[in-house]
């Protein structure tokens, strides 16, 4: 009898432990003292640990910016490298607080997958990497070609759509990680490797002889990349969304890493509101008033993050293109701070 009571008690305990508390991500991050950020551990320019284990990249700096906004300490981030295939499950199950892993915003991910995309930090499109020796000038000539692709990506679906729409025959070879896909492509298993154009430049540099390969000019899809959070926590959603907007606004208003202290004395009311000198917009997010100042001091504004990781300050030398500010002919546009 005693044993029966014991097993019943145990069952009750497990049953109770199973019910999940209301989502309060900011609070649990603050209590934990560290932000769990789902990142790409494998993509030069976006997320890659260097030889010393320091994480670098465009998306990585976004994680740091959020940590700086919450803790006043950009090192309080735990980067969790995720494959494309596992990333949504990791976010859904609470393993990571935010997913910033060059992830394309789509309608089904926004709904059935239980994610909320907070914005677009990089406007991208899908392209192809091929050998120069093939003498291919356009993606439309790739009928019957074998294409290496990474699993669990929009890329995988766009590829099938593109070949279908253009009545071309497709042979895909699918790999769990981009690393394996590029290796197989480089070994000659495929004629082409396809992924977002931003990544293609980095992946090209990883082949044995980068000069033998060329990125085709065709862009076959829209790939708006951005951070995402779980459904059901509006406060956390607002924080992650506005970290992006603040970084863009900072660039637009000319607030940069080097001049942020000087800018706090600016007369421009918009700058004063953004930096928390005037008003209480930081507290409205559940953060301190000067969170933007800390972010900018840590990682710089949007333009600085871009140039350092992807642009002229990096080996990738990607031009701003669609990611220029709206005032300079691009698409990056953030709502005002008011």
């Amino acid at each position: 009898m005693k044993r029966a009571i014991l097993s019943l008690a145990l069952a009750t305990a497990i049953g109770l432990a199973g019910s999940v508390a209301e989502a309060q991500t900011l609070k649990s991050v603050q209590q934990r003292g560290v932000l769990n950020c789902g990142a790409n551990g494998n993509l030069a320019g976006f997320g890659l640990p260097d030889a010393q284990g320091n994480w670098t990249g465009f998306d990585v700096d976004y994680c740091r910016a959020i940590a700086a906004a919450i803790f006043n300490d950009p090192t309080k981030v735990k980067f969790i490298p995720l494959t494309a295939k596992d990333r949504f499950t990791a976010l859904q199950s609470g393993e990571v607080d935010v997913l910033i892993r060059n992830t394309t915003w789509t309608s089904s991910r926004d709904t059935t997958s239980g994610l909320n995309f907070t914005g677009v930090n990089y406007y991208d499109g899908q392209g192809f990497l091929v050998r120069k020796a093939l003498k291919v000038n356009s993606a439309l000539e790739l009928s019957d070609a074998a294409v290496c692709v990474q699993q669990g990506t929009t890329t995988e679906l766009n590829l099938a759509d593109f070949f279908r729409t253009n009545n071309m025959k497709l042979k895909t070879v699918t790999f769990a990680t981009s690393d394996e896909a590029v290796k197989a492509y480089d070994a000659g298993r495929c004629d082409a490797y396809t992924t977002d154009a931003s990544a293609l430049y980095g992946e090209r540099l990883r082949t044995a002889a980068p000069d033998d390969h060329v990125v085709l000019p065709d862009i076959i899809s829209k790939e708006p990349l951005g951070p995402s959070v779980r459904h059901g926590d509006d406060q956390w959603f607002d924080i992650v969304r506005w970290v992006n907007f603040m970084l863009i606004n900072a660039e637009e208003l000319g607030v940069a890493k080097a001049n942020v202290d000087a800018q706090m004395k600016s007369d421009n009311p918009e700058i004063r509101r953004m930096l928390g000198v005037e008003g209480k917009q930081g507290e409205a997010f559940g953060l301190s008033n000067d969170f933007v100042v800390r972010m900018i001091k840590t990682v710089g504004n949007y333009g600085e993050i871009f140039e350092k990781n992807l642009g002229q300050g990096s080996p990738l030398k990607i031009s701003r293109g669609l990611n220029a500010l709206w005032t300079k002919g691009g698409l990056q546009y953030a709502p005002p701070v008011r």
Partner: protein, 394 residues
């Protein structure tokens, strides 16, 4: 009328009655398990609903929209997720069943060679076992895959194998046989041959029991099963044509394609599992006491029949149960296909389908149920087989 039992035993409280107590404990335990399972399911459903993650099995009939490199049944990018599931499952079954066949053949050979009296042979066999079984399988698969890709020539320099086959790092391309209508006659001849061989074997057994003579079963069977259909095949004027693989703009078109991913996975799984099977076989053979062999020799049996009729049947009792484990391991290990791009069930279904639909709970539950079914079926078959070799106690 007095109840006989009541007088035979003193009336005791159910709490102190061991039968009652064990029944109550079991009922309570069952209830607790049911309650726990119910709680887990409702809790998961509630949390999924709260996070507004889709649930249910509606996705099964939605369009998949992705391509799969090896499909045993017709599949296009417009097929459903359900179809993709079957494609993945068949790919898993293909590599697992072929892997089991090859691993068994290699394993038995190496296991017997380990007991060879030739020192070089037995040491080489032992070295194979020790090297292969002590390296992680994933590492071996990556090694074989990269070895296959690196060692083979690229598309433009394909190796032409006599008979019209082509070999390069995109795979092995074999001529595809296209059978004519007269093939039915050949198949009928083959079926007749098999039936004839079984009948001859039956007759030979009886003859041996009656007279002690041994009719040449092997030769007659080979004649019936192999030679007769071949003669018929020739007599019908070779009713088969071959579609040779040819070079296209990028790839080879036509023919039967064997992907390097498949070859590497099959090779890696077979080699790895064979090392374990070799040990099982060696242990099984050594478990039969040497006295049995000596007794057989003293009865005048030659070494061949001794092994076949005396040692192996006794060894099989020891071999079959652990052999079943190895078959199950091989089937489950085939899910490592995901690392080298072979589209097995895990790669297609818990990989792409899970990611595209976002329905982790359903997809993982289905996959687990499938592996459980495959494993239970395998061990069920092996148990049937084992019963034949088990000690018959009379």
């Amino acid at each position: 009328m007095v109840d006989a039992r009541a007088t035979a035993r003193p009336k005791i409280s159910p709490i102190n009655d061991p039968r009652w107590r064990s029944a109550i404990v079991q009922v309570l335990l069952c209830l607790a398990i049911v309650w726990l399972a119910y709680g887990a399911i409702t809790n998961a459903a509630e949390n999924l609903a709260r996070a507004r993650i889709a649930s249910g099995f509606d996705f099964w009939n939605s369009t998949a929209g992705f391509d799969i490199s090896q499909t045993l049944i017709p599949y296009t990018t417009q097929s459903t997720y359900g179809r993709a599931f079957w494609v993945g499952l068949l790919n898993t079954l293909l590599v697992a069943s072929l892997g089991i066949v090859f691993a068994t053949i290699i394993g038995f050979t190496i296991g017997i060679l380990q007991l060879s009296k030739n020192v070089l042979v037995s040491k080489l066999a032992a070295a194979y076992v020790e090297i292969v079984r002590n390296l992680p399988l994933l590492l071996q698969l990556l090694f074989w895959y990269n070895a296959v890709l690196k060692a083979l020539p690229n598309l433009r320099e394909s190796l032409a194998i006599p008979g019209g086959a082509l070999l390069n790092n995109r795979g092995l391309f074999l001529p595809k046989p296209i059978f004519g209508g007269a093939m039915d006659v050949v198949l009928a001849a083959f079926a007749l041959g098999v039936i004839g061989a079984i009948a001859f074997r039956y007759w030979a057994r009886r003859r041996q029991a009656l007279t002690g003579q041994q009719p040449p079963v092997l030769i007659v069977s080979l004649l019936l099963i192999v030679a007769m259909p071949v003669v018929v095949f020739a007599a019908m004027g070779f009713p088969v044509t071959f579609e040779a693989p040819e070079m296209g703009r990028f790839n080879i078109r036509g023919g039967i394609e064997i992907l390097p991913e498949f070859a590497a996975l099959l090779f890696g799984l077979s080699i790895y599992t064979a090392a374990f099977i070799a040990e099982v076989v060696r242990a099984g053979l050594q478990a039969v006491s040497h006295g049995q062999t000596e007794a057989a020799y003293s009865l005048g049996l030659r070494p061949g029949p001794t092994l076949r009729l005396v040692v192996v049947p006794q060894a099989m009792r020891v071999i079959v149960p652990p052999l079943t484990n190895q078959y199950l391991n091989l089937t489950k290990n085939s899910s490592l296909a995901v690392a080298i791009g072979y589209p097995d069930l895990v790669q297609v279904f818990t990989g792409t389908v899970l990611n595209q639909t976002g329905q982790a709970v359903e997809v993982v539950a289905i996959t687990m149920a499938v592996y459980l079914t495959i494993s239970l079926a395998t061990s069920g078959l092996m148990n049937l087989y084992n019963r034949r070799f088990a000690l018959k106690e009379r």
